[in-house]
Symmetry: D2
């Protein structure tokens, strides 16, 4: 996009004279979050239906993870936005990850994800996260609340994801011990970017598998615990089709990272 | 997308085994709405900055329209959704239209638009509407409220659009007379589809001008009146840069239509 | 409250120098609404638990009604508010009514009710409606949407009430015929006003049965149909304890009315 | 309320068979919060209008405080609620405090306060806080976000309060140093409980000045800094009538406390 030819500015719609209004600013994007991740074992036959070729089943067939996160994120071009307008920088998400592999490299795909703001919804679409809007409720642990208390052995944390009037995912963790960052699953994501054509609904204009390019991952304050997970029936969502699952424990931790873009691995 | 090769279904992300969860279903999309449209005259020099080539200034330089609408929409593939889950079918929007022309044909571009739900946000992106989330408040006229009353000469209707804690657009209409559908501006839209690349932020994967393909437009119960419009200063939005405007009157009416897709007019 | 002695003004908190900020303005309050009411038969033994003395079981033991409504309301002191700030005048509610009688006069009590805005939440408390916040989703029938259509034989309307991430009530109506206003149940309400003491939690400062003083009731555009109702299990709400119910049909109609206050019938 | 006579249970409406649904549970209430408090000097003549007798101007006429808080609270009767349903335990508030005195004892009254959930709205009314609903946006400082960072000298925190589509209060703090809990203003509140009569709008059923009974106050992690405050003009709110103010600095800190009720000091 050469500015002489095309006078509007911006990384994404709306493209405008100042380029200040785009719903998503260009990467790099900087994140800091508080994450509950809950591992589970599902029936590999059901999970298989969620992994489109050329992706393949991963080394632990049927394993997956649920994340509940509250993020604060800003971009390189507007690093002070968390102060200028906090609403533009904070969001919550609930996502389901499914173990898979691409050409022998293992990672996760993300069949379902819900968030609670527009900038992250669109930024997710640009990256290949199939985001939808929801309300996501998370326990707030607080050291000075006499009955709730802070992070400690025995602390209990719950996440609830409700979309279009239906509760669709619940997850919880009872903290049993502090843990080491090395115990966490590696967050390597194979994502599917998809943008429909407007002329032919059955032929997308963009359809590709990408790998997120993530750097500067930092993890702190990791707690391990016993997990519980529920995927609810819905008239709209299909997450309950994952079927009966067995929770395998989980973690609550802080994480920081930078996303600089993605690498296209495969084009359909 | 051949189903044998690619097992997931859906018009848009998330693509899933059942194809029931996509945030947007394939067209045709069927709409019925209650619309306040308010015409205005702005400074053509300021308006010019909003019209990217190959679009050109229209026959009435500096003229534009503000719409406040409450829509109910369903798709061909799920026509009963307004009953199954009303939340998935109702939304409000506030949009700004700017008169322009393409190869001698006059119409409108849409530099700014706000909506209040995810399915319409994404469906807008697929069509070329640069939608962002907002809360949109509209007067409810009601025949049986003794003080508010229904549509009539003297009725007053207001729309307020608030995004990320800022009020960004206000518009109002005082009904002066019933009007004929033929008095309404023709709703011909030149839209800009844009989808970023994930590898190179400055080179979009999709960037094109399209014309909406709209059919079965029906209009009913048209009222004309005196308009008022305000574009507010914002730390995020640029709509106030349209500058001082002069309201030129407006309409309130019902409209029904079907969108079957779009036609690409130009690729950047 | 003599103004010389007490300089702040207002019908309700906040009391302020101008008296313009109160969350609720003084009555009379003027209403216009679109109402779906669904009648049901429950087990009288379960219903009995919801009727506190001196109220007694009504002439049709175990009968009740569910209302889903979108109201627009304004007060005598600020009749133009629907135009000044629409958000302050529109709300939705879902309520459960239970047939009862007081000293031989039959009417309804309201054990459960949810609304979606603060002014109506507080105004409800002042009247004796035990309101809580929720999100309430209602079908929008629209004549010009080619697939949804307007009010007609065969039209289907649904209401969904979701509070704190749980769907708590669903109701729906399939229109079978136009009906006469005289077919509607009489809306006579026995309400319980209750305001806790701050010194002794077990002794309320106000606890009384009141009858709403309603005037100028107007009803229009009545449709009758087949009803469906579901009360959902909840970790917070008790509405599902009403137990299995049998829908008895329902109505969709417009209604206007004026509430000028209430009459205290009994003080505990 | 003797249970034999009155079978329904609960501290507040709705009173129900199980007593589990009340919008507010009985005290004690346990709080833990993250608080930004910003001190200001206003014109004492304007402030005077906000202090009703028998309260009097305090020792520092015209001084006030703005709080932006995110609280987690639970009650004695349901201490696990932060886990069972987080939404029922977290809320945000923005409040304005005005220095005053009662019979020679100095403290604060609270003319304006906004919160974002129903349980705290009603609990506030029972205590004498004149709460209204709003959306309250707060910066999230996070140690692991590379650009936002955590609490430190130079960190910047903003609060924004938006109600009914209007931004009504903004406040911000730039951290300059760690501080001692002893530097904080003492949180002693004189509150006004008020509950209208339903028969005579001009004669409230309850109207009294109370003092909150607060115990176990704990403060931690106190930062001092430079403050900025803005009260915005509104068609509904009167907070801007406080007039021009001079920020006097502020604090960001954690606080825990227990409220066991209130003591009535004066009945109108």
């Amino acid at each position: 996009m050469v500015e002489e030819q095309f006078p509007l500015k911006g990384y994404s719609l709306p493209l405008t004279p100042q380029g200040r209004s785009s719903v998503v600013e260009p990467p790099p994007w900087y994140y800091g979050g508080d994450i509950m991740q809950l591992m589970f074992q599902a029936d590999p036959d059901r999970i298989k239906a969620l992994i489109p070729p050329p992706l393949e089943m991963g080394p632990y067939p049927g394993q997956g993870i649920v994340w509940f996160v509250e993020w604060v994120s800003v971009s390189e071009s507007n690093p002070d936005l968390a102060f200028i307008n906090p609403e533009r920088t904070i969001y919550r998400e609930c996502l389901v990850l499914i173990g898979c592999s691409f050409q022998g490299e293992s990672g996760y795909i993300n069949p379902y994800i819900w968030v609670n703001n527009d900038f992250t919804l669109m930024r997710g679409f640009f990256q290949g996260f199939p985001k939808k809007l929801a309300r996501i409720y998370l326990t707030k642990l607080h050291d000075l609340n006499p009955k709730v208390g802070g992070k400690r052995v025995g602390a209990k944390f719950k996440g609830i994801c409700e979309a279009h009037g239906e509760r669709v995912v619940e997850g919880s963790l009872e903290f049993t011990r502090q843990a080491d960052p090395s115990e966490l699953p590696a967050p390597r994501f194979f994502l599917m970017r998809h943008f429909p054509s407007i002329e032919e609904p059955s032929k997308p204009a963009v359809h590709e598998i990408v790998r997120s390019v993530v750097s500067d991952v930092k993890v702190a304050d990791v707690w391990a615990g016993n997990a519980d997970i529920a995927f609810m029936e819905s008239a709209v969502e299909e997450v309950a089709d994952i079927g009966p699952i067995q929770p395998l424990g989980g973690f609550y931790h802080q994480m920081g990272l930078t996303i600089t873009g993605g690498k296209v691995l495969y084009r359909y």
